[in-house]
Point group: C2
Chain length 214, copies 2
DNA sequence: TATTAATAAGAACGTTCGTTAAAATACAAG
DNA sequence: CTTGTATTTTAACGAACGTTCTTATTAATA
């Protein structure tokens, strides 16, 4: 019976994502989304309730189409180390190749002071926790396969990998230098690699301060 | 001849910092700052020109009183490794002990989509570059003192340390778990410590398929 | 064809935004 | 006391904000 929608929700949300992502919650108005999507402001309210609802829906869709899809894709790899490496490298490539320097919508939202939206911060936190779980699962898989030292701490390793991802997404907004991001990934991956595969890093025998090594 | 100021600029800026830090640029109005500081909105305009000017001044003051002071303080230490360690641990403690979970005003601003303010993003970037230089300087000092492997890359190490700081400031807003932050610092510090001081991490002899990532 | 119900559009609401002009204030110098 | 000057306040501007009301449109059903 109802009239056909001129745009489906996902298309509207994609426009909302594009705006909220770049300009933040308080920096984006309902009218901005209205003009970008071509849907009247009143229609937006009819569909999403209010600005908060629209924002949360946009964030949720972003998280599912972005990070969640990526995690699922790399989790399916047989090699857990390749999953971690592939995930981080894809994140680096994404950060490097974005001329708009948008970084990550989730991270941006987590740091967005204007995100008083109930649920927004929680959603961001939950999704980033899932990312830590993704890393932890891969580390545990690698450990079970005997690819890691048995006394390696999966939680500590997972947290370091998540930290690398977070730092990259911050740098993606500030200064996405390709070399820097790739070095960051390599450094985060180093503790997962067998020792002979890493660049040598032998500390000198003397430990006294001040005296340079001969 | 002039009438005495009811408040000095720094006090006004401290109120502005408190608000911009928590709620972001677009989420804070001139009237908010006016009410918090007790100074009329028009007086704020008389002093700082416009909202952008007030924001940039607040950010500048924050960067000088916070990160810049901290870098100077730890740079003065004789032991460069203690400087790095102390810096990161202080950052962790700061993140942990803030009940408001404000994170870092500079990082928040860098990710704040509403920061169209000319100079704000650049200021954030410049200050974070200084932080990388701080880490690099300590690494070089340690290397010159023979405390590090001679083939260690100071840039890569400095970038990893900066990444740790950035990740901590993100987590400070999302979920400042003390254990997690301290583990992060320890992991970032590990490449700087002599091998025997680190937790052992011997990979098993059998190696499955080769390590990913170039 | 008439009915029905979700959808969209237009217009307007009260509020808050950044900003400014003008007037009032307070202190030092003459 | 008068003058001068930097500061502050009062009041207001137009624009944009989130939101809602009302009205018009559209397609499937009866």
């Amino acid at each position: 019976m109802p009239r056909t929608r001129i745009l489906d929700d996902d298309t509207v949300l994609d426009h909302a994502i594009a705006l909220f992502w770049r300009r933040g919650y308080a920096g984006t108005s309902i009218r901005d989304v209205s003009e970008a999507s071509g849907l009247g402001a009143a229609a937006l309210y009819h569909r999403f309730g209010d600005k908060d609802g629209l924002f949360v829906e946009a964030l949720r869709r972003y998280a599912e189409e972005g990070p969640a899809e990526r995690m699922a894709r790399f989790s399916a790899l047989a090699d857990p180390l390749a999953a971690v490496s592939g995930f981080l490298h894809e994140l680096a490539d994404l950060s490097i190749s974005d001329p708009e320097r948008r970084g990550c919508f989730l991270v941006n939202t987590a740091l967005d002071g204007a995100a008083t939206v109930p649920g927004a911060r929680g959603l961001a936190r939950a999704r980033l926790d899932e990312m830590k779980d993704f890393f932890r699962a891969q580390v545990c898989r690698a450990e079970a396969a005997g690819r890691l030292s048995p006394d390696a701490d999966p939680d500590a390793l997972a947290e370091s990998l998540l930290a690398c991802a977070l730092a990259m997404r911050v740098l993606a907004r500030i200064d996405p230098d390709p070399g820097r991001l790739r070095r960051l990934v390599d450094a985060a991956l180093a503790p997962l690699l067998p020792r002979e595969a890493r660049p040598p890093h032998r500390p000198p025998s003397l430990s006294g301060k001040g005296a340079p090594a001969p």
